[in-house]
């Protein structure tokens, strides 16, 4: 049979290249196509994403805004994406490359586990993400298409949630408690530390407490960063990754937490309802 010889689970070889937008190499004559050149093109950006550990795994919270220059491109952007039953990625930076990257990784993880009959290891998944980012370097150097993901995973071997963040070239860092990316993240970076030092580590909080801290942090980011959406009109999105699968936090339930924050009531913590996606208990 003239089927292609087996590629050991490497999806990038199957689709030939990692998905980066094609860079323009054609020479443009002076004065022509000026309005279409990279310098005047404004790409859409995702803004603030937050990841914190909590007792059962990792919680991700993100605003819903996507901006293009000074304009709001979209107010219902979904920036926390489940890659598989135990991995979620929160994206910031170029929306186009981020979404394509998430699509690529989702296929890549599934391709590996289906063809190799075993799930890709966490290390393998992280390396795959590094590869996707570093492959995007030519775009980064041209000034567009840079994206910075925060990857949250539930490590089944270590039985704990883990947070990884990256720089634009693909360097990977692991965070012990929290991670944040996007334009609003620098405004709140110190606040994470403040919470850990004065209240308690995020990893000791339950889901409700952690959600509340994240929503406050996001609110501060929205106050200090013009590109970060608040939640007067549209609620932020929240997902968590746990041993048993991915939780998508119920939007309507978040309003209770938000209302309490507005009222300044800090005592009682309302329960959070979430939609659970159970993981396959057999690994594949």
């Amino acid at each position: 049979m003239d089927f292609a010889t087996s590629r050991p689970g490497d999806f990038s070889r199957l689709v030939q290249v990692l998905p980066t937008p094609e860079t323009t190499t054609t020479h443009q004559p002076h004065g022509v196509g000026e309005s279409h050149s990279a310098t005047s093109f404004v790409e859409t950006h995702g803004t603030t994403v937050i990841a914190v550990k909590y007792k059962e795994g990792v919680l991700n919270v993100a605003d819903r805004r996507a901006t293009a220059g000074m304009g709001v491109m979209y107010d219902r952007a979904e920036k926390i994406l489940a890659l598989d039953d135990h991995t979620i990625v929160a994206i910031s930076g170029s929306f186009a490359t981020s979404i394509q990257m998430a699509r690529y990784l989702r296929h890549s993880f599934k391709y590996y586990s289906r063809s190799q009959l075993q799930p890709m290891s966490l290390e393998g998944k992280l390396a795959e993400l590094t590869r996707a980012i570093s492959n995007n370097l030519p775009m980064l150097l041209q000034g567009i298409g840079a994206f910075i993901p925060v990857l949250s995973a539930y490590d089944l071997e270590a039985d704990q949630g883990r947070i990884f963040f990256y720089d634009g070239m693909g360097a990977r860092f692991e965070s012990s408690e929290f991670g944040a990316a996007g334009s609003g993240s620098s405004a709140i970076r110190g606040s994470f530390d403040y919470i850990v030092r004065t209240k308690k580590p995020f990893s000791e909080m339950d889901l409700q407490e952690a959600l509340r801290e994240c929503l406050i942090l996001l609110d501060i980011a929205a106050d200090l960063d013009a590109a970060t959406g608040g939640y007067s009109k549209i609620l932020p999105a929240a997902k968590a990754v746990t041993r048993d699968g991915v939780l998508t936090l119920d939007e309507s339930q978040m309003t209770d937490v938000l209302r309490q924050m507005e009222d300044g009531v800090l005592g009682a913590i309302p329960p959070v309802r979430a939609h659970r996606i159970d993981a396959d208990s057999e690994s594949i």
Partner: protein, 262 residues
């Protein structure tokens, strides 16, 4: 010189060679149920039911290497298509009809290569049970489509018996009922096998087949094997809809005696 006569002879010999090797294959049953689709078989050591894509799964009887080659080719095609277009464009019709069947046929017609020993079942889960599609793909590239259920077995007689068993029902079962029916059909398929061994059937075997006291083929198969069953779930929000059934989910059907369904 290679004449048309030789060609016919060669094809006939190859078919005979393959059929001979497929005879011993343990049947695979596919049934569509209300919340998904089910594939069930009995395996000895090697896994036999595989996930191909979000809404596709596959199983086959035959030579391990050939089963594996078709599996990988199907996964490659499905993922490349699903990524470059969309998961909705990966259909069983495109997969089997255009990506798998033609190379299989070419390889079967090539007198200088070893023929592929394989009979495969592909399943595509639809939004509703009526939309589920089964494809049976033969070693020579021939394929047929089925709805509600489909089976593959080593012999035509076994497949006929299994069809007969499953055609008794016209409703859409739930998973527990689908498992019962699949096991009943599997029994029929495995049972009819010894009777069809006409060439070297000795007197003893013929005697046994003629009496009602035939040992339960499932119980026999489970002595050195186990039931393998997998489902695609229609309504799950998980990234993968495919799931192998756990031993505790299969406990009840294994325990059901052979005559419970007849």
């Amino acid at each position: 010189m290679y004449s048309p006569y030789d060609f016919n002879q060669s094809i006939a010999h190859r078919a005979e060679y393959v059929e001979e090797r497929l005879k011993g294959g343990a049947p695979v049953v596919g049934i569509s149920y209300d919340k998904g689709v089910l594939l069930l078989t009995v395996k000895r050591t090697q896994r036999k039911i595989f996930e191909i894509y979000d809404q596709l799964m596959y199983s086959a009887i035959g030579n391990q290497a050939d089963v594996e080659a078709v599996r990988l080719a199907a996964i490659d095609f499905a993922h490349a298509e699903g990524f470059q277009r969309s998961p909705d464009d990966v259909s069983i019709q495109r997969l089997v009809g255009f990506a798998i069947s033609p190379p299989l046929k070419r390889s079967f017609g090539d007198p200088l290569s070893t023929p592929n020993v394989l009979r495969a079942i592909f399943v595509e889960m639809g939004k509703r049970p009526e939309k589920d599609v089964f494809f049976i793909l033969n070693y020579d590239g021939e394929f047929s489509t089925h709805s509600r259920f489909a089976v593959v077995a080593g012999r035509d007689a076994s497949e006929l018996a299994m069809h007969e068993e499953l055609e008794k029902y016209s409703d859409v079962p739930d998973l527990a009922t689908a498992l019962q029916r699949a096991v009943a059909a599997w029994r029929r398929g495995a049972q009819d096998q010894p009777a069809a061994t006409d060439d070297d059937a000795d007197d003893e075997a013929t005697d046994r087949a003629s009496t009602e006291d035939i040992p339960d083929p499932l119980a026999q198969a489970l002595e050195d094997g186990e039931i393998e069953a997998a489902i695609l779930e229609r309504d799950t929000s998980r990234e993968s809809k495919f799931r192998m059934l756990r031993a505790d989910e299969l406990k009840d059907v294994v325990a059901t005696p052979a005559n419970a369904n007849s």
